[in-house]
Amino acid sequence: MNFNFSEDQLLMKEEVKKLLDKENSVKRNRNVLEGEDKFDKELWNQLVQMGLTATTIPEEYGGIGMGFLELCVIAEELGRGIAPVPFSSSVYLATTAILNSSNEEIKKEFLPKLAAGEIIGTFAHSEKTTFPNESGINVNFKSGKISGKKVAVPDGDIANFALVTAKSDKNQIGLYLVDLSSNGVEINSLDTFDPSRSHADIVFENVEARALNNDAWSDIEKLLDQSAVLFAFEQVGGAEAAMNQAKDYAMGRYAFGRAIASFQAIKHKVADMYISLQLARSNCYYGAWALSNDAPELPTAAATARVSATKAFYECSKENIQTHGGMGATWEFDCHLFYRRARLLSSNIGSQGIWKDKLITSLEKSNSPT
């Protein structure tokens, strides 16, 4: 058996890491957080040049035809670097949704541009304060047009197009592609918890929309499962970075005449971070296996990876601040950038309660959960 990434995939991971280190991705996160830009275009262009937006897109659509495993290692590194770019919206979600669909016309039109980074897509789903189930979708689709409001759309003020969930006149939930520069689209950028990633409310008023699928609820569930694995890798990358920051700081910080890393109270804290990180990483590997094989276990594997990675990033990022003491809670130190990102990623694509419930539901459906 080989329950690991291939040498090529690990090499690719290393290359992405090198780029993000060289470009000082964490510093760029701070620049976006403090500045006016909605994302770091320079960094985004570098990622595009490296071909990362083309990863899962087949060559016939202008991509490089790799798979989800490559995307998993990329996601981990973007998480480690808390990169201020719309990668998750455009690649994990929009690109995957189009790849999943059977709409050739849309594939031919959009995939080459997504691969080349010429356009950015996103997924517009939530309408209220809770993550929607099937009855929570009230944006409507009627005779080719959609109307209604989506809230806190990630990169909603960056993306060129959105895949919008909407209810058709047949009472089915469909997935529709909307050009965000169309007439009738009103985009309001939000003041957010983690300004290194932009979010917007979007109001649609009789906006022209193209159907990816008119009866798409199961497609939407699948898209969320697929992206959950990728988000989980991003969270694991961030968690590991936060754990290493805590460890490094504790080794260099002296109090009571010795490195604070020699105190058991600190060691046990970092060991706890390591434990939650390893559990999450191992679950992510299983998620990666299920994702890349399109296995029937995907709903369980994705929810498991997502829940444990969310927990790991929260724990590592909050205890990283604690390990740093007062300095960890200053604006100047980077700890809060990871703490913010951990919280933001927990909310994107549905929070812990949603995914824990999904997990138990999927276990109830399968006869033998273990």
Partner: protein, 414 residues
């Protein structure tokens, strides 16, 4: 990324399966366990019939070359690759076979003998150990030395070619049915703590060895106190140099950490089934959101451990060394066991008070969990190990380092 066997692995797995199918009964359910045919009410005779059965099964394996697979053939093993040993373990666990008596000998004493015993001794002791004919125990902890193992006080004095041992060991699993033991003693009380230790193996039937069972909070008695009064050990049974006992002990402890795996008892499956059946405020417990959240957390832990193990096995299969990830296993599984047992009894509410068929496994797990969190390295020691050995954080300041042992302050009456 896959879970598939290589061609060679698949071939080996078939071979293993063919032999097991011909010699043992396959489990119908994963949780089925072996029970001795004639276990009586009396717990003592229950153990001895279990031991008899375990010895018979081990001997059968040995005779066909399936004992201690990774050991050299000369010592009763099979010269098998690490991955073959894993495959054997995976397949054997699918059959209803007895076990549970040989781990300390084969897992801890064996590797130390292989490193430190004479060729003649290896040929004499390792094959019967592999065959299960002779059972070994490990005499390490003392009343005043548990996590701080190097603080032991059992005294070893050399006169000519013979050592005389006086003192007391504690928490010795299986001492009451063991034939031999490995023991670490203090041979020099004026040397610093880690420098004055000497390591031996001894015959547990030696005059002056007295074994007294310790009744645990579960009501069972798997551990013992072992008293040594003028016990004689020939110098030829010393393992390692005089004063080098700590180094030899570390070999054993490293193997102990590998040998102590998942905690047995209730796990996700049990609490999941219980939550589906159990009433809770007029509905099933599993339909309650708070219950679902708890279940999800435990599933994630169980799954995380399972795939951590897979990452390690994968490394073996690929011919590389497994990473340190498995160091999390005992902490996570022992705490999960305790919490699931407690929560199960919460769900059963009043019914959890009485002991019956349904409550027994939860009650037993709740009482057994505290010992699992302590045995083979406490949660706290294991976290130190993760921090220091895996993550490279510095050791705590040691006030007892480089101080003669007999000048180290002690609050213990021993």
């Amino acid at each position: 990324m896959d879970f598939n066997d290589t061609k060679e692995e698949a071939k080996f797995r078939n071979e293993v399966n063919a032999w097991l199918s011909a010699n043992a009964e396959k489990k119908e359910h994963a949780k089925d366990i072996y029970r001795p045919a004639e276990m009586s009410e009396d717990s003592e005779s229950g153990e001895s019939s279990a031991l008899k059965d375990a010895k018979a099964w081990q001997a059968k394996k040995y005779d066909s070359g399936w004992a201690c697979l990774h050991w050299p053939k000369d010592y009763g093993g099979r010269d098998a690759a690490p991955m073959e040993r894993v495959i054997w373990g995976q397949e054997e666990s699918k059959f209803k076979v007895p076990g549970g008596f040989f781990e300390i000998g084969q897992g801890m004493a064996g590797p130390v003998l292989m490193l430190y015993a004479s060729e003649e001794q290896k040929k004499r002791y390792l094959p019967p150990m592999a065959k299960g004919e002779e059972i070994w125990c490990q005499l390490f902890s003392e009343p005043g030395a548990g996590s701080d193992l190097a603080g032991i006080k059992t005294k070893a004095e050399l006169d000519g070619d013979t050592w005389t041992i006086n003192g007391q060991k504690v928490w010795t699993s299986g001492a009451h049915y063991s034939d031999y033991g490995i023991i670490v003693t203090r041979s020099d009380f004026s040397a610093p703590k880690h420098k004055g230790l000497t390591y031996f193996f001894l015959d547990m039937k030696s005059p002056g060895v007295e074994v007294r069972p310790i009744k645990q909070i579960t009501g069972g008695a798997n551990f013992n106190e072992v008293y040594f009064t003028d016990v004689k050990i020939p110098d030829s049974q010393r393992l390692g140099e005089v004063g080098d006992g700590w180094k030899v002990s570390l070999t054993t402890l490293m193997n102990e950490r590998l040998a102590v795996g998942d905690a047995s008892g209730v796990d996700f499956q049990e609490i999941f089934e219980l939550a589906k059946d159990q009433d809770f405020n007029g509905d099933t417990a599993i339909s309650n959101g708070a219950v679902r959240e708890k279940l999800a957390d435990w599933y994630c832990e169980q799954s995380g451990l399972k795939y951590t193990k897979m990452r390690n096995i994968s490394a073996l299969s690929q011919g590389s060394t497994p990473g340190p990830e498995a160091s999390i296993t005992k902490i996570v599984s022992a705490n999960k066991l305790q919490d699931i047992a407690n929560y199960g009894m919460d769900l059963m509410d009043n019914a959890s008070i009485a002991r019956d068929e349904e409550t027994a496994i939860f009650q037993g797990s709740l009482l057994g969990a505290p010992l699992i969190r302590i045995a083979g390295g406490t949660d706290e020691v294991l976290k130190n190990i993760i921090a220091e050995q895996v993550l490279g954080m510095p050791q705590d300041v040691r006030v007892d380092k480089n101080v003669p042992f007999n000048e180290i302050p002690t609050g213990s009456k021993n």
